[in-house]
Amino acid sequence: MSPIIELDEVTKVFDAPSGPVRAVDGISLTVEHGEVFGVIGYSGAGKSTLVRLINGLERATSGRLVVDGDDVTTLSERELELKRRHIGMIFQQFNLFASRTVAGNVAFPLKVAGWPRAERDRRVAELLDFVGLLSRAHDHPSQLSGGQKQRVGIARALAARPSILLADECTSALDPQTTQDVLRLLRKVNTELGVTIVVITHELDVVRSIADRVAVLEHGRLAELGTVFDVFTKPRAEVSRRFVSTVLHDRPRAADLDRLRRHHEGRIVTADVLDGSTLGAVLGSASELGVAFEIVYGGIGTLQDRSFGSLTLALQGDDPSVDHLITRLRQVTTVEEVR
């Protein structure tokens, strides 16, 4: 794999009435050809600005930003317009042209790119078929549901055969079921058409569903970057941990811990569960050591076809024996004593 998007110390400063705001602050990262790259952050983290720097809707204040071989920070407006034909974009509020039909929306980028009428019509039909809306070609966007509107948005974004698709909070206005449908469609865009996708979101579920790697943004800076599995299972930044806790409720929070402490005697530990960790075998030996255990909290799920999660245990016994058991657990996984 080779990089299709390279950011090198990219910074974007906006002039606000209250003074300059560093919306994107020295970010360096690369997106590989053909991958689905997630960018996650809370609102105001700079992720929407970041994605607009890639297609030049916003100009970087400093840094280098190479997209498909060209440094977009040095391109003229005219060159950028040509560049954008190879970069599709979809939006949270879909941003369809209300005055044009579904087919007219999809045809717009083709007119921009100067496709002849006959080829344009053929391409529009092909795309509407791909997103499952061929029968709605002559309807106006207002007649469609949110999920259908986003499908039109995707068809429009893909019309001129871009190599990159930028998705800016593309499921945030949709219900969970429709979100999954749209994400499945994006998956198909990635695997069947080979389009590199950059997904901007504040929902970790979206990243978990389709991204290969993820960048976590906070206050315009890169807080963490890695495979989705690594960031999920071993979040290093505090902001990443907060995101993980929103989708995975396997670790007891402070209030849960208070309750656990009231209801269970002995010591409480949380042990990570990953593929290949042999927690059961170790726990099977607990009685030999004279330790009684109870599973009091936890959850195990799968992520990118691998198991991950954690179990919280209440351990009862004399201190040396419990210590011994914890030592054995630590030989197979990460264990955190919460009391």
Binding site: N55, L57, F91, F97, V112
Partner: protein, 228 residues
């Protein structure tokens, strides 16, 4: 000039009727020509105001300031005064300051500035996200201005132009008093000046019907093009 003996009281269809029809024709001519000329120039000026304002497609503080000042200077001038101010220009352009065509010059001038604000207001209401989506496809700003902005705001624009139609009918009556023809002159010469209120009231009814018809057509057209 005006035959005094005939029909000084009441509405005489054989005498007043043809004059009413002729005056209505003149009014429609003045209003129509003004809407075409002032409507087109106002559209261009409105697009200029909208695109050069802060955050606009062609954002340019200097150009916007000039256009904005221009509109603010000319728009508040009372139309009656404007008619006098414009008269020398009209004579230069047409060789006369009299008649319906001469009135169209001043009316178009006034309409241009009024229309520009209405166009600007309706374009401002376009969702910026839609324009961003167009830019993201690689569309040039020129393409967006010429093919996207007006269609996206067409429904409200039609209602705006309908509003302008009524204002222009008002202007045409005022123009009648100075040097023009049309329904205003008809009501003035055959009605008010002879204290013949049958003529005045019938003129009022005709104008009400004209405005009602225009509003009905405007409403229907705007509903047809608005896909909400």
């Amino acid at each position: 000039m005006i035959p005094v003996a005939q029909a000084d009281q009441g509405f005489d269809w054989s005498f007043h009727g043809p004059k009413l029809v002729e005056s209505l024709g003149e009014t429609l001519y003045m209003v129509g020509a003004t809407l075409v000329i002032g409507g087109a120039l106002g559209l261009v000026l409105g697009l200029g105001l909208y695109t050069t304002r802060r955050g606009g497609l062609l954002a340019n503080r200097g150009v916007f300031a000039v256009l904005n000042l221009l509109v603010n200077v000319f728009r508040p001038i009372p139309f009656l005064i404007l008619l006098m101010v414009i008269a020398p220009l009209t004579v230069t352009l047409l060789g006369t300051r009299l008649g319906s065509t001469a009135m169209v010059v001043a009316m178009s001038f006034a309409a241009t500035f009024g229309v520009s604000r209405i166009v600007e207001q309706n374009l401002v209401a376009i969702d910026p996200g839609v324009i961003e989506a167009a830019r993201a496809t690689g569309a040039t700003r020129w393409r967006i201005i010429t093919t996207l902005l007006v269609p996206e705001a067409l429904g409200p624009l039609i209602l705006g132009y309908t509003f302008v139609f009524v204002a222009v009918v008002d202007m045409s009556a005022l123009a009648s008093i100075i040097d023009g023809g049309g329904l205003g002159a008809f009501a003035l010469d055959y009605g008010y000046k002879r204290w013949n209120f049958a003529v005045v009231w019938i003129t009022v009814v005709v104008i009400i019907l004209l405005v009602q018809a225009a509003q009905a057509i405007g409403n229907r057209l705007s509903r047809r093009v608005m896909h909400r």
